[in-house]
């Protein structure tokens, strides 16, 4: 029994097949000029899940244990923001090391200046611990061969809770590193609650400007792959150390070295 008056008056879009080529919400159709009910509720569910991701606790002990299992030393620190609510409303506190973490890093064995680490790696929760839980270790796994190949000295990995990007400036300074890479959870989107960002800063010290950093963003399944992100980080670090600069004057030209869209085997000129 079909009765046109009982059918929902949805106008479908003739380009529905294109939705397969992007995660963007295209070809949703319309009722009059408005969104169909199913999409309104699908969106509401995604928003609810993203809201929940912001408040998922960071499992720093598990991250540290997995780093150790990869053969990397790990140190756990906290920012000066004691909890999530403070973290969200006080970004200034998320950029500062809590005294205990500061003491822990200062107590690490000192290196002579000519043996200074080339890179300090900070794994930070940022706005999505979920992103760090899923992406940080696979990214480092892909990055380590580049670091070994280049002969870079790595400082112990710092696992930082309730942390913002600029916390890495202080960490890098205390560790005496030539550069710092902060791997941090980006703020969750509706389709991507688990996207990781990496911020690379040469000669880290408090007061560094955002324009003095290079950023790789959207590292996740369906975004920038771990292998490609690791290669780009290696390229940026090599160029940063060679040209003694990071930020807006260091343009990412690593794509020229890609082979069919994939990272090359070795880092050549």
């Amino acid at each position: 029994m079909t009765d046109d008056r009982r059918r929902p008056p949805v106008t479908p879009d003739a380009w529905r097949h294109l939705a397969a080529v992007t995660p963007a919400r295209i070809a949703l159709g319309r009722v009059g000029d408005s969104l169909p009910t199913a999409e309104v509720l699908r969106f509401a569910l995604a928003h609810a899940q993203a809201r929940d991701a912001v408040h998922t606790p960071f499992d720093a002990p598990a991250i540290a244990a997995r780093l150790n299992a990869m053969g990397l030393a790990a140190v756990r620190v906290q920012s000066a923001a004691p909890d999530r609510a403070t973290y969200l409303s006080r970004p200034d506190l998320g950029r500062l090391l809590a005294p205990a973490g500061q003491a822990l890093l200062s107590a690490l064995p000192a290196t002579s200046p000519d043996m200074a680490p080339d890179l300090a790696i900070v794994v930070a929760d940022g706005l999505s611990a979920t992103a760090v839980h899923r992406q940080a270790l696979p990214l480092l796994h892909a990055f380590l061969p580049w670091a070994r190949g280049a002969g870079w000295r790595l400082a112990p990995v710092v696992v930082a809770s309730q942390a913002r990007v600029a916390l890495g400036d202080r960490v890098g300074q205390v560790l005496g590193a030539r550069a710092v890479a902060v791997l941090i959870g980006e703020r969750p989107g509706l389709s991507a609650p688990d996207s990781l960002g990496v911020y690379l800063t040469l000669n880290p010290r408090p007061g560094r400007l955002d324009a003095e950093r290079n950023c790789l963003s959207n590292i996740r399944d369906g975004g920038l792959s771990h292998d490609l992100a690791a290669f780009k980080l290696a390229w940026l670090l090599r160029e940063a150390l060679r040209r003694q600069v990071t930020g807006v004057t260091l343009k990412d030209e690593s794509d020229r070295l890609l082979v069919n869209g994939h990272a090359p085997i070795v880092l050549t000129n």
Binding site: A14, V21, T22, A24, D33, F43, H47, S89, N218
Partner: protein, 462 residues
């Protein structure tokens, strides 16, 4: 210079004191988390209104002699004061801030009067009066202002609302970007600009994306402009390499130090503008700059000089104004809850930004948006979009399904724009509206027509 400081007002048994002009401005601002974060907000509801009362009695011309950010250390202050047009200011030079509000809402202040006044206003004057205006005042006064700009079409005519088509993709995939462009065009969006936020800052990738968007515009003869939103130095480098760029984009802020945080200066912006002008790619006009701003960016860069975020936002418009932009939009809820905590604060800020921008003579649009760590949702966006559309906002964003899958925030959708057009009878830029009709995408009433798979845009996409 501090001839009036400290500012005092007696209310019943209490005397309220404000140590200087920036303190008075900050305390008079409607409550928001960013000013609290900066430690400059009013401590009580009564102090907030006491500051408004005190500010209402302040002569407008005070702002010409008392700089909130020192002239000596800040090129934005120098720009504001050096460029001030005393003749344009003369008709209101006798007014207080409160008198200025009355003037703006009076019948004397029609569109022509306000347009003539704009070069005589400093951003601090606009910010000050906004602080004592209610939301309806901000809407009504802004609705009187008309700012028209042109590149390949005409943006800002009465009764129109333009849309930036924002076809972002999490991996800059050309096919994915093209699919979102197609979706937006078939929903009648893209007259403000087809503007992509790339993930990459690699020159090769950016050049490919710029050529992709330019190719769509050229192939279908769309009367609109393209932009890849990247740093101004990157745009200059791309133009040097012969890549087709229509508009030069840059985020700007209201202090020199905050702009340094973005890696820009007035001289660098001028260099970008001149490079784009030299390409002569506009057909009906030569407004070649596209700026984005947002309350909280200066504090975020540690560059706020103790000035409240709304005043600094208005100062960013002075930076924009210097370069005759085609488009300027506040990205109002993007920066997060530490600056604008919830839907109420985002809505208020959006209306303030739009009012201040329009009053200063800018083609102000708004990215009506929020992030997932803010206390806001789609209902708040519906409210702000509807209010801004009634206020005559120049353009808003069009993001597929309101979900930006690259920048991870929610903005307004193609459907949202159709809703507000239908509700308020708003047209698109006329050249673009005509193109949609020619292509059979929209009917004479501007509403989208059902499409078959054989439509030239769909057939041509393969």
């Amino acid at each position: 210079m501090a001839a009036h400081a400290p500012y005092r007002i007696i209310l019943g048994p209490r005397t309220w004191t404000f140590v200087d002009l920036k303190d008075l401005m900050a305390k008079a601002t409607p409550p928001r988390s960013g000013d609290r974060l900066a430690g400059i907000a009013a401590q009580s509801a009564e102090e907030n209104v006491a500051a408004k009362l005190c500010l209402a009695d302040l002569p407008l011309k005070t702002f010409l002699t008392e700089a909130l950010v020192p002239y000596e250390v800040d090129e934005v202050t120098r720009l504001i004061l050096d460029r001030h047009d005393a003749a344009a200011f003369a008709p209101i030079s006798h007014l207080t801030v409160g008198g200025f509000r009355d003037f703006l809402l009076s019948d004397q202040a029609d569109g022509a009067a306000l347009a003539a006044l704009a070069p005589g206003l400093t951003p601090e004057m606009a910010a000050a009066v906004s602080k004592i205006m209610r939301n309806q005042d901000l809407i009504l006064a802004a609705a009187k202002c008309r700012v028209v700009t042109r590149f390949r079409n005409t943006i800002g005519l009465p009764g129109t609302l333009a849309v930036r088509l924002q076809p972002n993709h999490p991996a800059d995939d050309p096919g994915g970007v093209a699919a979102s462009i197609l979706d937006g065009l078939l929903y009648g969006c893209g007259d403000a600009v087809i503007g992509l936020n790339p993930v990459s800052d690699s020159l090769a990738t950016l050049a490919d994306l710029a050529r992709l968007i330019d190719g769509v515009i050229q192939r279908f003869a769309i009367p609109t402009q393209a932009c890849v939103l990247t740093h101004v130095t990157t745009s200059i480098e791309l133009m040097n390499r012969g890549v087709p760029l229509d508009l030069v984009f840059q985020s700007v802020a209201g202090t020199q130090a905050a702009n340094e945080g973005f890696g820009v200066s007035l001289a660098l912006l001028r260099e970008g503008m001149e490079a784009a002008l030299a390409l002569k790619r506009g057909t009906v006009g030569d407004n070649v700059m596209y700026f984005e701003t947002g309350q909280g960016s200066a504090l975020s860069a540690g560059a706020h000089h103790g000035v409240d975020q709304q005043t600094l936002e208005a100062r960013a418009y002075a930076v924009a104004r210097e370069f005759r932009p085609l488009l300027v939009n506040t990205v109002v809820g993007f920066i997060g809850p530490e600056y604008l905590y919830d839907g109420k604060q985002i809505i208020r800020a959006g209306l303030e930004d739009h009012f201040c921008g329009k009053l200063l003579g800018l083609p102000l649009g708004c990215d009506v948006c929020y992030t997932n760590h803010a206390e806001a949702d789609q209902d708040d966006m519906d409210t702000l979009l509807t209010l801004l559309a009634t206020a005559g906002v120049s353009y808003v964003m069009g993001v597929p399904g309101a979900d930006d899958v690259m920048l991870n925030y929610q903005s307004t959708s193609f459907h949202d724009v159709l809703y507000v057009r239908r509700l308020l009878g708003l047209k698109r830029a006329p050249e673009f509206e005509a193109w949609l009709a020619t292509m059979g995408i929209a009917g004479a009433d501007g509403r989208p027509l059902p499409q078959s798979p054989g439509h030239p845009l769909l057939a041509g996409w393969r």
